[in-house]
């Protein structure tokens, strides 16, 4: 496999968990709620998926469990932010700690347990195409599912009536309420949906990518997802691009090393984050004006009815 093919394949394998969390966070942010607890949702999703896949011997059951667990944790965020008017950013971090604590408590016994994981499905025909076959058509089922999620989410957010309501909840809350819609209900749905997808991302990490449960194994991917959503201006295709970029940066270092190139120890750790920061800085200023109203006053969540 050439270096380029390998890094691009790795970009998709490693970027998919971030993509799920990022697309999920796009829903929440479009509705005007930032959820820094995304990392926590990924963690509980990873553990729930691994535990259930281990107990039932069925990775699909694990994926469903990851989805539910991520959603439930996001519900905690939604409740405190939307009902109790808690500070979004602080509460997001609290939710992350909650996820960390819960998963280290309940996850200890699963560290050494084997679990049935997803294996790559090479798509007949397409999978044997040179280069492209490896990059796109030799992945686990959750990765294929994410290929469908991106255009579906784009359509939902930008072309559907529901997406319009969602964006209105983030940008024009007064208008929305004056038309008789419950802003809070829409925001609830968006945040929980976001957590659900983050949980599925965690599941992909645990039972398709790393094939293991380990304490704090998400290692900041949830925060990367939140950052990606900011520079992608909540647009699913750009979120996917950003996630794959991060995945590529992660895949580059082992790919170079396995070919005998030495890399600076600090650069090794920093490349993925530096990539994200550089892109953020490059695109951030231009996008500032596009942020939804609800996000411009993150310390005081928009009034809800």
């Amino acid at each position: 496999m050439t270096l380029v093919t390998e890094v691009m394949t790795g970009a998709i394998r490693g970027g998919t968990s971030i993509l799920y969390a990022g697309v999920g966070e796009s829903y929440a942010e479009s509705a005007g709620v930032v959820n820094l607890g995304t990392e926590g949702s990924m963690l509980v999703g990873a553990l729930a998926a691994y535990a259930v896949a281990s107990e039932t011997n069925n990775p699909w059951a694990g994926a469903v469990a990851g989805l539910v667990a991520g959603g439930v944790l996001a519900l905690v965020h939604a409740y405190f932010v939307l009902h109790r008017r808690a500070n979004q950013l602080a509460n997001g971090l609290v939710v992350l700690f909650l996820g960390l604590g819960l998963t280290s408590l309940f996850g200890a016994s699963y560290v050494s347990k084997p679990a049935k994981s997803f294996t790559p499905w090479r798509i007949p025909g397409l999978g044997s195409l040179p280069a492209v076959g490896d990059i796109l058509f030799n992945h686990d089922p959750l990765t294929y599912l994410s290929f469908l999620l991106v255009p579906a989410s784009w359509w939902l957010l930008t072309r559907s009536r529901w997406g319009l309501l969602l964006r209105a909840a983030g940008e024009r809350t007064e208008v929305l309420s004056s038309y008789g819609h419950s802003v809070r209900r829409i925001q609830y749905i968006a945040v929980v949906l976001g957590g659900t997808l983050a949980g599925l991302g965690g599941a992909q990490l645990a039972i398709a990518y790393a094939n293991a449960w380990f304490e704090n194994m998400v290692q900041g991917r949830g925060f990367v997802a939140v950052a990606v959503v900011i520079f992608a201006a909540r647009q699913p295709f750009k979120v996917a691009a950003g996630s794959y970029l991060f995945g590529a940066a992660l895949a580059l270092s082992p790919a170079l090393q396995a070919r005998g190139y030495g890399i600076n120890q600090f650069a090794l750790d920093a490349i993925p984050y530096v990539t994200i920061i550089v892109v953020l800085v490059a695109l951030g200023r231009r996008r500032a004006a596009e942020a939804p109203e609800g996000l411009k006053k993150v310390f005081e969540v928009s009034p809800s009815t």
Partner: protein
């Protein structure tokens, strides 16, 4: 993301404190006369404390150390065994150890490489507590109440390299490691030297993850090595499951490290090296309880190898595909190392052809620790620069 780092360390510390096993029955009868000013470190300790850097069931380093603490619990039913998992390699480790001392522990095992500094700090503050640290050597004068211990890990790793060298079809072996520290580099070098001793064409490809346990990075590292055509994978990581499973799933062979993980790779497992701490831990506790710690072999830099027959690092069981020919090669090599004293007996040559160990020289442990900053010939890859 400083907030995250802070949050993580808080979570980790609270997890560590919460996992102290406390309520073990302490029926230790107070020995008459023990109240006299007897400062022998660890003497008549009511409890023994163990701190681990990771979870106790990681199929790796921490699991092996935890099993050692279980052996201590069994051997000394009257002594309380305190354990703390996920103790970071920072000052927080000192706080956890202080907490154990408050609970009556006068013998402390700090079991991670990065626990050295906090362990030495605790030792300096409590001359009556025997503090032993796993992995490092103490430079300079050794305090009377402190010591380090370890095995000559590179010996069983060398032997595993022989198995890998004989079993490989592609002559490409893969090594996933965490940090470029002397222990790790000497393992990689020993593995390659073992492999090339039976197969001059065998090369070891190395990938660094700069993390003792990040399953995501491990998966990427294993994938990269497999993509390079490596057909045997080994590692120096704390949690070993991800890499073992990735190799097994790809049909590659696995050489284990730290613990027996052959159940994770029933087809691919060929060899491995693992810790067997029970005897050593028990003997250290026995020595300290008796008041004989100071001046004992544990009150300094304790290292035992094949030559002395006390190495706590042992060979794992061989896989089903390993035949009689390889086994006899192993016996010969074991015999040779036991006689000579080290798998690094010269000549050993670096990647760029310089002499690392001169012909006829047998380096001791301290020398090996100090010279292992480069890879030997046959290792493919560069060390990360700092």
């Amino acid at each position: 993301m400083p907030a995250v780092a802070l949050a993580l360390s808080l979570a980790v510390v609270s997890g560590a404190c919460g996992s102290n096993t406390t309520d073990t029955a302490t029926t230790a009868t107070t020995v008459a006369g023990s109240t006299t000013a007897d400062a022998a470190p660890g003497k008549d300790s009511k409890a023994v404390g163990f701190i681990f850097v990771g979870p106790k069931d990681d199929f790796g380093y921490n699991q092996a150390a935890f099993q050692g603490s279980e052996a201590v619990k069994k051997a000394f039913p009257d002594v309380e065994v305190l354990t703390a998992e996920n103790v970071p390699e920072t000052d927080d480790a000192a706080r956890v150890m202080e907490g154990m001392i408050d609970k009556g522990a006068k013998i402390i095992f700090a079991t991670s490489y990065g626990h050295l500094d906090p362990a030495m700090k605790v030792a300096a503050a409590h001359p009556d507590v025997a503090v032993v640290q796993q992995g490092n050597l103490i430079k300079g004068t050794v305090p009377a109440n402190a010591g380090t211990y370890f095995g000559t890990v590179y010996e069983p790793v060398y032997l595993a390299g022989i198995v890998a060298g004989k079993q490989t079809k592609s002559n490409k072996l893969g090594y996933v490691y965490a940090f470029p520290i002397p222990q790790t580099i000497s393992n990689i070098n020993a593995f390659e030297l073992g492999a090339q001793s039976v197969n001059p064409a065998a090369q070891t490809y190395v990938v660094n993850t700069s993390h003792w346990c990040d399953p995501g990075k491990q998966a990427a590292a294993a994938k990269s090595l497999l993509d390079q055509g490596v057909d045997v994978i080994t590692q120096h990581q704390d949690c070993t499951g991800t890499i073992t499973k990735a190799a097994e799933a790809a049909g590659a062979m696995v050489v284990g490290y730290h613990a027996d993980a052959s159940s994770l790779a029933p087809k691919g497992w060929i060899a491995g090296s693992e810790w067997s701490w029970a005897d050593l831990y028990t003997d250290i506790v026995k020595t300290a309880l008796a008041g004989d710690f100071t001046g004992s072999q544990y009150n300094a830099n304790f290292r035992e190898g094949l030559k002395d027959g006390q190495n706590p690092f042992v060979e794992s069981k061989l896989g089903p595909s390993v035949g009689a020919e390889v086994k006899s090669l192993l016996d010969t090599a074991k015999e040779r190392i036991s006689t000579i004293g080290s798998p690094f007996a010269g000549p050993v040559v670096t990647q760029d052809g310089k002499t690392l160990v001169a012909d006829g020289t047998v380096p001791d442990y301290a020398t090996i620790e100090s010279i292992m900053t480069v890879f030997v010939k046959g290792v493919v890859g560069e060390l990360p620069k700092n």
